[in-house]
């Protein structure tokens, strides 16, 4: 073989091999199949009612049919623009079962009721439900999503997979599993053994909260003869204790464990880098943040956000936020006793659980 050709062939083959990894790159550069900017949600502000609002918009086209069904007391079925099948109920009796039986039992169907809706027990609703009035669930039922214009009541051991929004009150009986977003414009009430992730309402009651209410109001006047320390921002390396009944005027940043003993009061915010233990009857006027575990209560009153980066346990009688100044309580894992009230958001990123009071 001509040596020149051999060298040229060698250069060509080596060049080809070097270019080979660039082929997908060149194809992508030319084809621009994934060249759009990363998706940043501009409109959705993380609003818990986002899905409920979207659903309301989605079913807007069914309103005239629903109105007609309500006026005539009839039931109608059909298909939405995207092929979704629906049932519209116009009578406030037990027509739901019948309407569903008329459909193929295994075929999922969107349910829209212009009136109060009573769902049968041990049923599974794999499509969204709209109730124009009250919604009364049956025991051991499974729901995908519910939008109720009135109160929504889930019976014992029911499950919600995506979301519920109640314009009225939302109540979940013992042992319910609420795996999505739960919101109400008035009140969310959870009973023992319920599990939850994200909830929002002006008032969230765990169990029968009123009977356990002992927490002192945040911002009440400081009793005389109480020991007090004052600092705009007390930065402390290592563990720290706030003594029983002590008043701290200012903010605490503790780079260790923090123990606030019973009856103490912090006129400011509190942060601990390690575990935080808040005893009985403590009040904090600002936020409460622990980079690890937090144990809160009983009968504490916290004004600002409560954040634990690992686990949070809230004991009976504790109140977070107020009706006027709602707040957020958040941790990956939350255990909350019956008798706790949160005004605003209660958000367990991984798992929240209501512990029955002995």
């Amino acid at each position: 073989m001509n040596p020149y050709i051999a060298v040229a062939a060698l250069v060509f083959v080596v060049g080809l091999m070097l270019m080979l990894p660039l082929v997908p790159a060149l194809v992508e550069l030319r084809g621009k199949s994934d060249a759009l900017p990363l998706s940043v949600v501009q409109e959705n502000a993380g609003e818990i009612r986002h899905f409920a609002n979207s659903f309301r918009t989605y079913i807007k086209g069914l309103e005239p049919i629903m109105q007609r069904c309500v006026e005539s007391g009839t039931t109608d079925t059909g298909t939405l623009f995207d092929g979704e099948e629906y049932v519209v109920l116009g009578r406030p009796d037990e027509v739901l079962m019948r309407a569903l039986e008329e459909q193929d039992a295994v075929r999922p169907v969107l349910i829209m009721a212009g009136v109060d809706l009573v769902a049968p027990p041990e049923a599974t609703f794999s499509k969204d439900i709209y109730a124009g009035g009250q919604f009364e669930g049956g025991e051991k039922s499974n729901y995908r999503a519910i939008l109720g214009e009135g109160d929504v009541h889930l019976r014992e051991a029911s499950r919600v997979l995506r979301w519920v929004h109640a314009v009225g009150e939302f109540t979940a009986d013992v042992g319910c599993g609420l795996y999505g977003r739960i919101s109400s414009d008035l009140l969310v009430r959870l009973h023992a053994d319920c599990s939850f992730t994200r909830m929002n309402a002006p008032r969230i009651e765990i169990g029968c909260a009123a009977s356990h209410a002992k927490a002192g109001p945040v911002g009440a006047s400081i009793p005389p003869n109480m020991g007090s320390r004052s600092s705009p921002r007390l930065l402390h390396d290592g563990d720290f204790e706030v003594h029983p009944g002590e008043v701290i005027k200012g903010n605490l940043v503790i780079r260790g464990k923090l123990h606030i003993h019973s009856g103490a009061r912090v006129c400011g915010s509190v942060k601990s880098v390690k575990d935080m233990v808040i005893e009985d009857g403590v009040s904090v006027e600002g936020s409460l943040i622990s980079a690890r575990k937090m144990s809160l209560g009983p009968h504490c009153a916290i004004h600002g956000p409560v954040i634990a980066e690992r686990e949070l346990a809230i004991a009976v009688g504790t109140r977070c936020g107020t009706l006027e100044y709602p707040t957020t309580v958040s941790a990956p894992q939350i255990e909350v006793e019956e008798g706790v009230v949160v005004f605003g958001t209660l958000w367990a990123r991984d798992r929240g659980h209501v512990v029955a009071r002995q």
């Binding site: 790159a25 990363l38 956000p305 954040i307 957020t328 958001t345």
Partner: protein, 437 residues
Amino acid sequence: MQAKLLLQVRHDHAEPAFRLWLCEVIYVLYAIVFVICAYTARHYFFTLNRLFGFQRHPYIDIDTADWPPVTVLVAAHNEEKVIANVLSALMTVKYPEDKMLVVPVNDRSTDRTREIINEFVERFPGRIRPFHRTSGKGGKAAALKDAMELVDTEVILIFDADYIPGAGLIKQLVAPFFDLEVGGVMGRVVPLNAGTNLLTRLLDLERSGGYQVDQQARMNLRLVPQHGGTVAGVRLSALREIGGWNENSLTEDTDLTYRLLLNGWKTAYQNRSECYEEVPENWPVRIKQIMRWAKGHNQAMVTYSLRLLLGKHRATVRERIDGTLLLGVYVMAPITLIGWALALGVFYQGVAPLHGVIALLSLTAYAALGNLAAFFEIAAASRLDGTRKRICLLPFLILGFAVSIFSVSRAAVSQVSDLVTGAEFHWDKTERFRKVL
């Protein structure tokens, strides 16, 4: 003598003085290799943490609160192409209107920026208070410093004029300030013009790696997330405590990060608080931008690295180490070039360090792992972002790195020569590419 044992110098005729000099060169080379390995390990550590470690997003769930009053500073110098976008976006964010004041900091603009801002002031009475600056020292830090006379809220947010905040962004950036340890907050920057050309696509990948992996890993590991000076916030009391904006700094954000850290404040990174920005669309603009960043960063390195590493302050050991490594990021470019030159030099002098075999094995190991560290990081970031095909462009990043390494080295050299000649730093604004509205 011991050093000589490590060498296998084949030039038997070489002068003893030259051989001694070679020994010293080898030690410098070892030091450079050690530092490069440290950065390589850091890349892998951060990436593996992002893929498999515990992810910290402690403040992102705060969606309901008694929100504090906030001032949003929008830094603008000849921003007629983009200023309307950012102001429009800020007027539609979901934050209590009576608690948010927007202050466009119009820094000596000579285009229509002033006029556009004034139009918005009229359209949204009481919500925008403009700060028109007509004289004074140039640069963002100097402009922000002067604008502080209009700020009386504890929480300050800062946006550059080419950013477009989403509806929930203000709340997300304010939320970390409920933590009294937090002095600064940084959100994530996402290129809006990612698909324009090869450069923007490469910058998109780089940004992805920098934020999705680097910044979040630092947040996870409680290291030193960097304040970026835009899509960012600072606590007024912390800013006052550290002496306000440093107008002599070319990168006021890096400067702020370290002064906060040295004074016992933390910077929180919010990976899910994303905001669109515009990245440079041509290489000269990109080179200018990265040279300014390099100079500012090196300036901060000279000022703070020793104090951070060895000084008496409240930073933890891990923050001291990470903070120092972060300060050295831009100086690694000239160091790497010097390393290459030295390695080639000693090779052609017939020197095989560590008896050759170990050197060969090390070289092979580094070629297999070390060179891939940054690529691995960016690939992991793309995966975390859920993107599909843009990862194919990864081989082209070598082009971006080549441009960066020479630009940053050039910046370092010019910085040293400026120091010798006494020339002053000057601040170059990044050119915008959006069409005028």
